[in-house]
Every structure is written in structure tokens, then in C-alpha cells.
């Protein structure tokens, strides 16, 4: 028996990296998946095609998570196409790394808009549907640097730490309606986002990871599937560190 048979999931930023792996995993567990993307249409459609080839159901929907009207349209399209909205995975995120002394205001604003405000807007947009259903799961992808801090990423870290606070508050506000909200804080996962890092930085990171290797997007996707399933019925407001033991 698959864990998410018949459920409907929206995954933001699902054309690449961790989001893409989450979309595949949820579809694998029987969910109908809305593959949201901001710019990479071709890659999003590739994800949809791969899900369909495996016998799953998926559609690609363009929307910037930082724009209210686009987010509303994304959630409306989901309910219109699949009839419900059971799982929201707030995964979309960007980086604009710089030292605080060099960081420009627009680098700060861009990252906060997508990585934190985007989570708020998507959450707000699904609550009505989930409240009516008296059921729902919201899974926010934070980051281990949101817990531990990281030089050169003030904007990203502030946003990801904000996501953890938002997760706890959303969990408290919506628990009475059986909407469970948790976060995942991935460590260093092999994606395009971490690929750009210089080799010596990567080597330095490995020395801080007890399991002495980078994580794979699938490691995060499996945890998302767990949090979205009935196996996690008594869990809300928590942040799972999936980081090879980096931050304990």
C-alpha cells in the first residue's frame, strides 16, 4: 500500500534539485502532484513527463511564490484540476550570497521575498481549502544554516530561520483543524545550488559532517513523504535536521 494514495500535493520550486526529488517521491507514493516552477518551464514539464511515464498524475503550473495573485492562481488551479489540496511543500528558494558588509539591499529583499514571504503567501492561500477539509499537511523546507548560521548568507539564513518560526506558529494556529505543519532543515545536499561552491569549501564542510558525505535530494524527499503521510499523525511544529549529523 502506497502512503499517499489519492492525495493531492503542491510542491513549489519543483523543477530542479530537492523540489524535483520531492515531486518524484510523492508521486511514487500515489499522490497527484502539482509541479510549480518560476522560470524553468522545460525542466518542470520534464518532471511532469517522468511522473506520467511511471503511471502517476502531475501538472506543471508557473507561479512566483512571492506574488499573491500568482500564488492564488496556483492553488486555484490545483483544486480545479485535482479536486482537493492535501499537501503543500514549501520548497522554492534562491540564494544571493554575500558578506553583510557587501550585501546589497535588493539581495536581501529578493531572498526574503522568495524564501520567507513565499512560504507565508502559499500557506495563507491553502488554509481555506485545508480548513474546509479538516485535514492538511504543510511541510516547509528550511535549512540547517537557519539553525546554526552561516557566514556569507545573512539573507538566506534569516529567511530560513524565519521559516522555522513560521512553521511553529502555523502549527499552533491550525492544529485544531487537523492541519499539521512541520519543517525540514537539510544540511549539504548535492544539488545545483551546492554544486557552485568551491572545492575547498566543500572539503571543509565534509570535515564538519559526522557521516562524512553530502546528502542526496532523495534523503530529503523521503522525509517529506513521511511527514505528509499518516505515519506522522502525532507530529506538528517540529523541525527535522537531515544533515548527516552536522548540527545536533
Amino acid at each position: 500500500m502506497r502512503k499517499l494514495e489519492g492525495k493531492v500535493a503542491v510542491v513549489t520550486g519543483a523543477s530542479r534539485g530537492i523540489g524535483r526529488a520531492i515531486a518524484f517521491k510523492l508521486a511514487d507514493e500515489g499522490a497527484k502532484v502539482v509541479v510549480n516552477y518560476s522560470g524553468s518551464q522545460a525542466k518542470a514539464e520534464e518532471v511532469v513527463a517522468m511522473i506520467q511515464e511511471n503511471g502517476g498524475e502531475a501538472i506543471a503550473v508557473q507561479a512566483s511564490v512571492s506574488k499573491t495573485e500568482e500564488v492564488t492562481a496556483l492553488m486555484d488551479a490545483t483544486v480545479k484540476t485535482f479536486g482537493s489540496l492535501d499537501i503543500l511543500v514549501n520548497n522554492a528558494g534562491i540564494t544571493r550570497d554575500n558578506l553583510i558588509m557587501r550585501m546589497k539591499e535588493d539581495e536581501w529583499d529578493d531572498v526574503l521575498d522568495t524564501n520567507l514571504k513565499g512560504v507565508f503567501l502559499c500557506t495563507k492561500a491553502v488554509t481555506r481549502q485545508m480548513m474546509k477539509q479538516r485535514a492538511g499537511r504543510i511541510i516547509n523546507i528550511s535549512s540547517i544554516v537557519g539553525v546554526a548560521g552561516n557566514a556569507g548568507q545573512a539573507n538566506y539564513v534569516a529567511a530560513k530561520a524565519g521559516v522555522i518560526g513560521l512553521t511553529k506558529t502555523t502549527a499552533k494556529e491550525l492544529a485544531s483543524r487537523n492541519i499539521l505543519v512541520n519543517a525540514i532543515a537539510p544540511g549539504f545536499i548535492e544539488t545545483e545550488m551546492t554544486e557552485q561552491l568551491p572545492e575547498d569549501i566543500k572539503q571543509g564542510m565534509l570535515t564538519q559532517i559526522p557521516l562524512a558525505k553530502l546528502g542526496q535530494p532523495e534523503d530529503i524527499a523521503k522525509a517529506v513523504a513521511f511527514l505528509a503521510s499518516d505515519d506522522a499523525n502525532y507530529m506538528t511544529g517540529q523541525t527535522l535536521h537531515i544533515d548527516g549529523g552536522m548540527v545536533m
Binding site: R128, M131, K132, E173, L174, S176, R177
Partner: protein
């Protein structure tokens, strides 16, 4: 066709699990009918569905008693 009062009363009775006799025009959702803030948000959502209308967040904040809900809805319907 039921009156606005009857339809609003039914929504409130169903949602908040109160007796019909408690649903007077003066009754405050929060103080008299035991609703918490989330209940009031849900109540407004159900009134939107029942009367097929949109109630803006600003207007929703002004709806605090049964009477204020009814006069708001009647004003919008006319």
C-alpha cells in the same frame, strides 16, 4: 425561500454547535457563542459560500455579532 436570518442562524448553529435560541441579534460570536478567532474566520468563509459572495478581510473584521453579520449580508444582497 428562507430568510437571511434563518440561513445565517443555521450556519451558526451548525458551525458552533449552539442552540438556536442562543442565536440572538445581539449575540457576540466570541463572547456569547463561544467562538474563538479561527471559528469566526471559518464562519465568515461559510457565510461566503452560503450567500455566494466575497467578504473582504476588512469587512470580515467588523462582523462580530449575529446582527452585524445579517445587516452586512442584507446590505450586500440589496
Amino acid at each position: 425561500m428562507s430568510t437571511v436570518l434563518e440561513r445565517v442562524t443555521k450556519v451558526i448553529v451548525d458551525r458552533l454547535g449552539v442552540e438556536e435560541s442562543e442565536v440572538t441579534l445581539e449575540a457576540s460570536f466570541r463572547d456569547d457563542l463561544g467562538a474563538d478567532s479561527l471559528d469566526v474566520v471559518e464562519l465568515v468563509m461559510e457565510l461566503e459560500d452560503e450567500f455566494d459572495m466575497e467578504i473582504s478581510d476588512e469587512d470580515a473584521e467588523k462582523i462580530s455579532t449575529v446582527g452585524s453579520a445579517i445587516s452586512y449580508i442584507e446590505g450586500k444582497l440589496n
